[in-house]
């Protein structure tokens, strides 16, 4: 903190000059002053020449100047003002504090972990949104069958086995996977039993009411159940067109490409017709699972 006097300030006395003049006026030596103030002689010399060591803080310099001025009975304010004039802001600014606690480091580490957590959370949220958007947007695409079947007396239930929904929906062309279950019941009854059909098919996932126009090559397979029976029907394309337990009195109509591979839990209670042509079920024993293809092959 060494400051040399600039020529412009020669008219105003510096703090050191003021103190030196007052001391000489009283005819005291620097040594006497040093012993009175309990300060080092070098410090008194420095004060009078306005040159301070770096290690001496402004707080102390101002204090020493104040004590010195009071000892010499001159105005403290005048001396301090002169000192501040010479040293500017340095004269007042204390040294910056610093901390030894590792709290800030800890917090920095913790915040990094928190950031990572937020990042993972954001990615998960993003994936969720993506999934939602895909399913919603794509499922909304296929036309809903209600308009076409508005006048049709049966409730049309599309029975689809658990297959990826997106794949199912993405096929916009008339496809053989889509088959309808049409209970052959009077109109009035159909409406009443429709909800029960839904309930009965608890094992099936009925997703949407779809009625794609049947393709020319497809054949219709009708099944009538005299008693509860578990069935699994796969058509020639390998897609499963009917699956699950059917109740007694239930009529099932599926369309697909022949031959169908049919598995029946209890073949004796089922009557099958392929395009109104009855299939001979006498060859299957009651109480045993039957797996065969329709039309029957020898």
């Amino acid at each position: 903190m060494t400051t040399d006097k600039t020529p412009t300030e020669t008219t105003e006395h510096s703090a050191g000059e003021l103190l030196k003049a007052a001391r000489e006026h009283r005819q005291w030596s620097q040594k006497e002053v040093a012993s009175q103030l309990n300060l080092r002689l070098s410090l008194i010399e420095n004060m009078e020449t306005d040159q301070y060591e770096e290690s001496v803080l402004p707080t102390f310099i101002r204090g020493y100047l104040r004590s010195y001025a009071r000892l010499l009975k001159i105005s403290e304010q005048q001396v301090l003002a002169a000192y501040e004039r010479h040293h500017g802001n340095q004269a007042i600014e204390p040294r910056a504090m610093h901390s030894f606690s590792n709290r800030t480091e800890k917090e920095a580490t913790e915040s990094r972990f928190m950031l990572l957590t937020y990042l993972v959370g954001a990615v998960l949220l993003g994936l969720l949104l993506l999934w939602w958007w895909q399913t919603h947007w794509l499922i909304g695409e296929p036309p809903v069958a209600e308009s076409e079947n508005a006048g049709v007396p049966h409730e049309i239930v599309n029975s689809v086995e658990p297959e990826p929904l997106t794949m199912l929906a993405a096929d916009s062309q008339p496809d053989p996977e889509m088959h309808t279950v049409l209970p052959e019941l009077p109109t009035s009854l159909a409406e009443q039993t429709a909800p029960t059909i839904f309930e009965n098919e608890s094992t099936q996932s009925s997703v949407a009411l779809l009625a794609d126009p049947p393709i020319a090559s497809s054949q219709q397979l009708s099944m009538r159940f005299a008693d509860d029976c578990w069935i699994d029907v796969v058509d020639a394309d390998g897609s499963r067109v009917a699956f699950g337990t059917k109740r007694a009195g239930y009529q099932l109509q599926v369309q697909g490409r022949a031959p169908f591979t049919v598995t029946l839990g209890n073949p004796s209670v089922v009557e099958i017709e392929l395009d109104t042509e009855p299939v001979d079920m006498s060859g299957f024993r009651s109480g045993r699972v039957a797996k065969f293809s329709v039309p029957l092959q020898d």
């Binding site: 103030l37 309990n38 300060l39 080092r40 001496v56 803080l57 402004p58 707080t59 102390f60 101002r62 204090g63 020493y64 104040r66 004590s67 204390p94 040294r95 504090m97 610093h98 901390s99 030894f100 606690s101 590792n102 709290r103 800030t104």
Partner: protein, 347 residues
Amino acid sequence: MFNKLRGIFSNDLSIDLGTANTLIYVKDQGIVLNEPSVVAIRQERAGGPKSVAAVGHAAKRMLGRTPGNIKAIRPMKDGVIADFYVTEKMLQHFIKQAHSNSFLRPSPRVLVCVPCGSTQVERRAIRESAQGAGAREVYLIDEPMAAAIGAGMPVSEATGSMVVDIGGGTTEVAIISLNGVVYSSSVRIGGDKFDDAIINYIRRNYGILIGEATAERIKTEIGSAYPSDDVLEIEVRGRNLAEGVPRSFTMTSNEILEALQEPLAGIVSSVMVALEQSPPELASDISERGMVLTGGGALLRDLDRLLMEETGIPVVVADEPLTCVARGGGKALEMIDMHGGDVFSYE
């Protein structure tokens, strides 16, 4: 949650809850409040509801001049809370006064300075009264630490800094290095004891009774801690104990010096003990640079001279010694966010 919201509209406060004066420092605004720690309580009839009649300067003017239904109370004694309810009311009033925003009740973070000799019970009382007054979070800091920071001493450096904070109720002597208190002691001698000593001296030697306010005036105007060539005089009025009528008389600074001998000796001896107890490395730092006086007591004329003569080491009076503690607390509070709270004290 709502507290946090209110916190956005509140300033962080550093409160020097002193026996004589309470100061509040706000970041970027400086000292926003400096009022005597006095509350005037009005109670219309015995057992009736109490209400606050005045706080601060207005209440201090009432001290010793109140009618039966008003009581002017100084809720702090010897640096700690003597009356919990009144302290809480006073803090509430001051915190509100420090916020210009009157729409939301302020909920600031508050740092309160406590004497280093205060017990756990006393610290908890201060913490709870600050919370009761609406503080969102309360931090405590040792008074000498705050004083040293406020005086601009190098508390974070590996050098010993000695600070003597002479407040209204207590004198705190501490040696600080690396943000920690190496040695501290607190004696219950302060401005109040000086006033009492003056009252007793005048009663004993003049047979005249004076009030606390008069004693304080004598102390600030002509009080001195070291014999000086120029003798100051003051004219004082008080009640003559023998005649029972008010009388006026003249006192000199030398008489006051004599009156203050006992409390001054207490302060000097606590400083001497601190120097004796200090580790040698720190003692050499202190003898090189000197100790710093803060607090209202540092304004007593020639107190630095007295300590210089008694200890043989330089003594420096801080700039604006009255506000050192509050300013230092404010700086410490600013440090919370940047660094850790290693300068704070815990219960």
